[in-house]
């Protein structure tokens, strides 16, 4: 008994103050990619992240398709791509992730009715549809004592029947089509859908493979997109809290 108390004292309280306090991520952390349109010399080909033209012809980066590799930070025909240390990457729309000069449209909260239902109690069902396992590992980390998702009233549950929404990771493999559709159908409305990771958003490292991209939820609206490969737990947490309208006022301003 006393051994246990000694251990408990030594381990201490490790829960982050987030969303209070400052977030300090290491120097090499690759957060939001930013495009600087000034000429930087000869362009180099990028493996997957290509600044793409937006509809009005301005160069942009698709943060949803970004794999956050060092190689994607390079000189391109549209300018230099560099990573900031901004971990706040989640958006409410797919288009919101197409960033011109480093500005994505950060996630907005659900409407008032949904916030009344889910704002203080959100039960989520995880469905993995052709992933590498990385995003799930970070979703699991959200439940540890450091990030402590439970203190926000958010919890993962063991059945879609108990859930308010599903969290999808993975690139939509062929063999998971049926199970993904069935899980969504089994989740009683009102329900939300959250896509976590580059694979769920745009195929990730597997884009182009014939075995992925098998959409099981055509026409189903997605309420939150969380980019990353995998997204840092703080990126996931920031996205969830924005969705629920739980981020303190001074942090919800678009570019803060």
């Amino acid at each position: 008994m006393f051994d246990f108390l000694r251990v408990l004292l030594r381990q201490g309280r490790r829960t982050l103050a987030f969303p209070g306090g400052a977030v300090e991520l290491p120097e090499r952390f690759r957060g939001l990619p930013v495009l600087d349109v000034n000429d930087c010399g000869a362009p180099q080909p990028l493996p997957s992240l290509l600044p793409s033209a937006t509809s009005d012809g301005r160069p942009a980066i698709d943060v949803g398709a970004c794999l956050f590799t060092p190689e994607e930070a390079a000189c391109t025909a549209a300018g230099r791509v560099a990573y900031s240390r901004d971990y706040r990457l989640a958006s409410s729309t797919r288009d919101g992730l197409i960033a011109t000069s480093g500005e994505i449209e950060r996630a907005q909260s659900l409407d008032a009715a949904a916030r009344r239902l889910f704002g203080r109690s959100l039960r989520l069902r995880s469905v993995v549809a052709g992933s590498c396992g990385g995003c799930e590992a970070e979703l699991v980390a959200l439940g540890n004592v450091v990030f402590d998702l439970g203190r926000f009233g958010v919890q993962f549950v063991a059945s879609p029947r108990h859930a308010d929404g599903i969290v999808i990771t993975g690139a939509f493999s062929r063999n998971m089509q049926g199970a993904l559709a069935a899980t969504y159908e089994a989740t009683p409305p009102p329900r939300i859908v959250i896509a976590v990771g580059a694979c769920a958003i745009a195929g990730g490292p597997f884009h182009g493979s014939s075995e992925v991209g098998h959409e099981a939820l055509t026409g189903v609206p997605i309420d939150l997109y969380v980019p990353g490969c995998p997204p840092h737990p703080l990126t996931m947490l920031d996205g969830l809290l924005r969705l629920l309208g739980r981020l303190p006022a001074e942090r919800t301003a678009q570019h803060v």
């Binding site: 251990v7 493996p47 997957s48 956050f68 190689e71 995880s126 396992g133 990385g134 075995e211």
Partner: protein
């Protein structure tokens, strides 16, 4: 055995394809079966298209005691006599060949789909299909009091998809059949077709918790084919990253095992400490899983003295914090009662089926690529092989704890004296018509990347074998005789990769 040894195939040492024994099917079977009977281990066995209608089969064997590899080849058309009846180590490989190449291993005792997809490595002009991905005949036990329990693919927690079909009598499991393939993303085809800059990203993503393991094996194969020699500094940084990955996963597993027996304090503490290891990888590479670090020719990031000191300090604190937690857990009588004797496999089962990693080492089998086929930094620094006996959940937990301590020691030591050298050397064109086999001791066990180039030096075949490919069978063998409610505990004690298996 000389015909196997002569070409001089070794871990990350490429040889000309034509130097390998190329035999008619009977000769091929004999050379492989004789080797296995003499103690060699079948570490890879795969097919690749040859001309319009044929399939070339390549079997790679390991003589662990002597640190040597060997390979033999044959060419078949639609079928060949299966090796599995005489060599159980081949059972999953032959199901894979049937599925990928549409070649029938006649006489295979249990020919069923493996990943449930259409053939993707079939000869150009073949339309054969040996297995139907939609038909999976589960083994059933008949009897009035026998019931069948199906679990998955979507599981209770946040975990990858897989299907488990139990035949149970009351609480007791009579049989467990595991059907996978839900995570199949077409990894091998991608590795064989995308440009090298993208291929390493695919390799990093084979199993997201084994980024360094798979990227290291992939790069090791490419570097061997390009005759590119990494600097000692790059080798050391890769070793540090590999061991940090091992630490993060083993500590996480100890926490998960504690969680499944409701020993919450250890579950909470180990869970946090796993994060400390991920944060060390984040400091080094900018990503908690080490993505972006390992590249052909070396590494992308340096470990300067200031960073090394800081990381060493954090590791020292980690060791200080983790020892009392492990002591608290392993000395607890209730924990022992819950872990001992549960989910046991035997040493004989490990040897017969070819299990690898901590699973094998928990049955006192000294099998560790860092020890048997040393590469990179492991040629100079020897980490003692961690063994336990009993083959049960307790033994697998003990092996992990031993490896945590040894990896902590290794990383701390490396951080105090990083060798000099370039971070990354150039990795040029690949030699044509060669075979290379790159082994890596990932944290789950032996990872194999076998790569064959064609006459122009392009990649002809990139065969990936994750340790889970072998070890899923261990879980199926461990359950019978146990309570079905112990399944989550047993599952976590093996902690196999669905994605690593499914590719």
């Amino acid at each position: 055995m000389n015909r196997l040894r002569d070409p001089g195939l070794r871990n990350r040492h490429a040889v000309a394809l034509h130097a390998l024994p190329d035999l008619p099917v009977d000769g091929f079977r004999n050379i492989v079966l004789d080797a296995v009977n003499a103690g060699w281990r079948l570490i890879s066995f795969f097919g690749m298209p040859e001309a319009a209608v044929d399939t070339r089969l390549i079997a790679v064997l390991a003589d662990d005691a002597n640190g040597q590899l060997g390979a033999a080849m044959t060419v078949v058309e639609e079928a060949y006599p299966a090796l599995t009846p005489d060599c159980p180590q081949a059972h999953a490989f032959e199901r894979e060949i049937a599925e990928q190449c549409a070649v029938r291993p006649s006489g295979h005792p249990w020919l069923k789909p493996l990943r449930r997809h259409a053939p993707d490595h079939r000869p150009r002009h073949s339309s054969a299909q040996v297995l139907d991905p939609e038909t999976y005949p589960f083994f059933r036990v008949e009897g009035e009091e026998v019931h069948e329990v199906a679990v998955g693919p979507v599981h209770a927690g946040i975990i990858e998809p897989g299907h488990f079909r139990f035949q149970a009598h009351g609480e007791e499991v009579l049989f467990l059949e595991i059907m996978l393939g839900y995570q199949h993303r077409g990894v091998e085809t991608l590795l064989e077709t995308v440009d090298p800059a993208r291929a390493v990203l695919v390799a990093e993503s084979i199993a997201g918790d084994t980024v360094i393991g798979h990227a290291g094996a992939h790069c090791g194969a490419i570097e061997a084919l390009a005759r590119s020699r990494k600097s000692p500094r790059a080798q050391s940084i890769r070793g540090i990253a590999l061991e940090l990955e091992r630490l993060a996963n083993h500590i996480g597993d100890l926490g998960a095992i504690a969680g499944d027996i409701a020993f919450q304090p250890a579950a909470a503490f180990f869970g946090r400490m796993r994060g400390e290891c991920l944060n060390l990888l984040l400091t080094l590479s900018g990503n908690r899983y080490g993505r972006g670090l390992v590249r052909p020719g070396g590494v992308n990031f340096d470990l300067p003295p200031g960073m090394a000191d800081e990381m060493a300090g954090r590791l020292h604190r980690l060791l200080d914090e983790i020892q009392p937690v492990a002591r608290m857990m392993f000395s607890n009588g209730a924990v022992q009662a819950r872990l001992e004797g549960v989910g046991a496999i035997t040493r004989e089962q490990c040897l017969e089926s070819g299990f690898v990693g901590p699973v094998a080492r928990s049955c006192e089998i000294t099998r560790d690529v860092r020890h048997d086929h040393p590469y990179g930094i492991f040629r100079f620094v020897h980490i003692p092989v961690a063994l336990a006996w009993g083959g049960d959940v307790h033994a697998r937990a003990q092996v992990r704890w031993l490896e945590v301590q040894r990896s902590l020691e290794f990383v701390t030591e490396q951080l105090t004296a990083l060798p000099r050298g370039e971070l990354r050397v150039s990795c040029g064109a690949l030699r044509p018509a060669e075979l290379v086999v790159a082994l890596q001791e990932g944290w789950r066990g032996e990872i194999v990347h076998a790569v064959v180039t064609d006459d122009s030096g392009a990649i002809r075949r990139h065969k990936v074998t994750d340790p889970s490919f072998h070890n899923w069978t261990a879980l199926a063998l461990a359950l019978p005789g146990n309570q079905i409610s112990d399944f989550p505990l047993c599952n976590k004690s093996f902690n196999l990769s669905y994605a690593g298996h499914d590719l």
